[in-house]
């Protein structure tokens, strides 16, 4: 008993002293998701510390709990993060609920012009309300959903022959989703190098945003729209249009006929694992991972090829990517702004791209030789030309959760029809918008 008491007291005392020792001034914390680009940013930020003497702390959370944890942090007014590289959909809430510092005055004072960044990224990552010159973030990481394929398998003569015999055309990068599914089905269950392989790793994750990001990659090329008239929230006939139903059915058929077994709760990491371990011929994933794949020990170099999300009725890609914002609860906003000022410089942006981060700066991504600089840069620009994002409404998380449930229930759990899923989704969203006073 005495030992227990002593230990408890010692623990309590040290807890107090610990929290006291944390007040080091020249150190700021940046919060982001834990993925390849985050490691690149750690590397890049060493220059910032060297230059300004401000130390950098990082808080990286896996994607599947990223939104959950970070929005919780913001909503509890936490001081953990001084800088937040928050997902594109958070901008509405970040601005409306006052989590993010408005950056207009700062940009003006420091001579940072939003014209120096790709317009699509400024619109997607920085502005709220959309399209107005009210900036709450600096575009930090451009991203869109794309595809990686096993170039080495695609180029094998015996595989090419077998494909031609079956489909009457050459095995090549798919020109639309129909071809994409055919190729995936062709590889499904095929034996390659004595190993059974599968078609494509697609997003099916339930918990955060995975399956929505995957499904919208099919919905957008089919011509999906969230509203009939932008800003009116009139979803009937748009969200559940015949094309949308067809696209959702198509995605389900992909899941059922062309994915590896047990691929029922997969997001970025699971897709990477399936691809890197040689299980699948193709994977859907964010461009952010492509530099890593191109350098990978097993699937890097000539083994892998890349293509932007294929069209169907129209061109369309799912938007990823984030802007960097200053958290309004932070006590170190000065230092945080200092970081943004430093990060916005063209030479830093160039190094950012070299390290594997997708710069949105026109001096980098707008340069003439950008498209040729890597095997995927051209496809990245192509994808960014037709990106669409999910709702960026302040209540986006609620809208997202509804979609996660409806499409996962249909695609993975095989409940109801695509039409019913989308009809119910409109019901859910209508309630949410009514509660929010938008309808």
């Amino acid at each position: 008993m005495r030992i227990l008491v002593t230990t408890a007291l010692a623990a309590a005392v040290s807890a107090v002293s610990f929290s006291g020792a944390n007040a080091q001034d020249k150190e700021i914390t940046l919060c982001w998701a834990a993925w390849d680009p985050a490691n690149a940013l750690v590397e890049l930020s060493k220059d910032f510390t060297a230059k300004t003497g401000i130390g950098m702390n990082f808080e990286f959370v896996p994607w599947t709990s990223f939104a959950d944890r970070m929005l919780n942090e913001l909503n509890s007014g936490g001081k953990l993060c001084d800088l937040m590289i928050g997902d594109s959909q958070w901008i509405g809430g970040g601005a409306t609920y006052g989590h993010y510092v408005k950056l207009n005055d700062f940009f003006e004072k420091e001579g940072i012009s939003m014209d120096d960044f790709l317009p699509a990224t400024v619109n997607a990552y920085s502005t709220w309300p959309k399209g107005t010159p009210n900036y709450y973030a600096l575009p930090a990481m451009g991203d869109a959903l794309g595809w990686v394929y096993r170039k080495d398998w695609f180029e094998r003569p015996e595989i090419q022959e077998a494909f031609k015999a079956e489909y009457g055309r050459d095995l090549a990068v798919p020109k639309n989703w129909t071809e994409l599914r055919e190729i995936a089905q062709f590889f499904q269950g095929r034996e390659i190098d004595g190993k059974k392989v599968y078609g494509a790793a697609i997003y099916t994750e339930r918990g955060s945003e995975g399956i929505t990001m995957g499904v919208t990659a099919a919905l957008y090329p089919w011509g999906f729209k969230y509203e009939n008239t932008p800003g009116k929230y009139d979803m009937e006939g748009a969200v559940n249009s015949a094309e949308a139903v067809e696209a959702l059915e198509f995605y389900k058929s992909m899941y059922e006929t062309a994915t590896p077994p047990g691929h029922s709760d997969a997001y970025m990491v699971a897709n990477l694992d399936a691809y890197k371990s040689g299980q699948v011929a193709m994977q859907m994933n964010w461009f952010a991972f492509f530099p890593g794949i191109a350098k990978d020990e097993t699937v890097g170099g000539d083994v892998s090829g890349f293509f932007a999300n294929p069209p169907q009725n129209v061109e369309g890609s799912t938007l990823g990517g984030q802007g960097i914002s200053v958290v309004s609860y932070s006590d170190k906003q000065e230092e945080a702004l200092e970081y943004i000022k430093w990060f916005a410089q063209p030479d830093v942006q160039a190094k950012w791209w070299a390290l594997g981060g997708y710069s949105c700066h026109v001096a980098v991504a707008g340069a003439d030789d950008f498209a040729e600089s890597t095997p995927f840069a051209g496809e990245f620009l192509k994808a960014m030309g037709s990106v669409k994002d999910f709702w960026q409404e302040p209540i986006y998380a609620e809208l997202l959760q509804a979609m996660q449930k409806r499409v996962h229930d249909y695609v993975v759990a095989d409940q109801g029809t695509a039409q019913e899923a989308l009809d119910k989704l409109i019901e859910d969203w209508t309630i949410s918008f009514e509660d929010d006073g938008k309808l």
Binding site: L71, N72, N75, D265, E398, D409, V412, A413, D414, D435
Partner: protein, 315 residues
């Protein structure tokens, strides 16, 4: 271990003889009582009762914890109407009921069975019993995380062992709509069957030998002895165990959220998991408060009914 008592949920200790108390010097007993109980009650009021009352209030509003500036409006019983009218909510409650019922059935079978075996006092019984008890003391969230690894269809040991003995091929316990509800039931049974076992064992050891001796004189067969002596004696203990575990499983969150996070689709979306989504992902605080109250009332109601039944069995 022959003199156990199942206390009812309230105590029955007789009070101290008052005559003796008054003669004591120092603080009066009354002062000591409140000095001693006060802090506990204060903490429970602050951390349990005040929040409960607040939750009741919030459940009648449209409050959202992520929109501090927004006007909080009284919406009457709208949140409750929506909840009770929602097919989805009934789906989650069904998933919860499925989980609670089957975990209880399996755990009673496994736990009671083990207790009967252990009661035979073989050599090394206490060693094996201690081993069996370990899983129930572990952190459910950490256990859930690790079982996702064990359940991997390709690389996991579970699928491998089942395939080895039954030739089923790779089994996707977590991804399959039919298997996922059983995946969580298996893990919960692995963790908590020992709990039931421990209580049944206490019940078995409370049966005096002479009852069996008397039964033998009456030439009762094994089944009769079990039915007329063992079962009635163990039943109160068993019901107590089911009461505690049933309530815990009705609230189940940590193990399942780490194991399946409610999927695939919504097949293992238990009530608490959905409550967390509503409250801390969608931030519909008012709505989720109403949900929380409904869950609390359900637990409380079931618990009370059960305690009544328990007393009936006892008497």
């Amino acid at each position: 271990m022959t003199d156990q008592t199942i206390q009812r949920i309230a105590s029955d200790t007789p009070d101290v003889a008052p005559r003796f108390v008054r003669r004591v010097r120092g603080l009066s007993d009354r002062a000591i009582t409140w000095l001693f109980i006060g802090p506990t009650l204060a903490i429970l009021l602050a951390i349990n009762i005040f929040p409960l009352i607040w939750t009741v209030y919030l459940s009648f509003t449209n409050y959202r914890a992520n929109q501090p500036g927004r006007e909080v409006k009284w919406v009457g019983t709208r949140n409750y109407e929506r909840l009770l009218g929602s097919e989805d909510i009934w789906g989650y409650l069904q998933a919860t009921a499925h989980f609670v019922v089957w975990t209880m059935v399996l755990q009673v079978l496994v736990g009671f069975g083990l207790a009967l075996l252990i009661n035979r006092n073989f050599r090394g019984a206490s060693f094996w019993t201690t081993l069996i008890l370990i899983p129930m003391m572990l952190s459910p969230a950490v256990v859930g995380t690790f079982w996702t690894y064990i359940y991997q269809p390709q690389t996991g040991i579970f699928s491998y062992i089942i395939d080895f003995f039954a030739g089923t091929g790779a089994i996707d316990m977590i991804g399959s709509v039919t298997l996922a509800p059983w995946a969580i039931i298996i893990v919960d049974t692995w963790m908590w069957a020992p709990y039931i076992m421990l209580l049944c064992l206490a019940g078995l050891r409370s049966i005096p030998d002479y009852l069996y001796e008397a039964a033998e004189i009456d030439r009762a067969n094994a089944l009769q002895k079990f039915w007329y002596i063992t079962l009635p004696r163990v039943l109160p203990f068993l019901m107590l165990a089911v009461l505690f575990r049933g309530i815990e499983n009705f609230k189940m969150f940590d193990m399942v959220v780490e194991l399946t996070s409610g999927g695939p689709g919504s097949t293992t979306e238990l009530a608490s998991i959905n409550l967390k989504r509503e409250a801390f992902e969608k931030w519909r605080t008012g709505f989720s408060s109403a949900f929380a109250i409904i869950l609390f009332v359900t637990v409380f109601g079931l618990g009370n009914i059960y305690v009544k039944a328990l007393n009936k069995v006892k008497s």
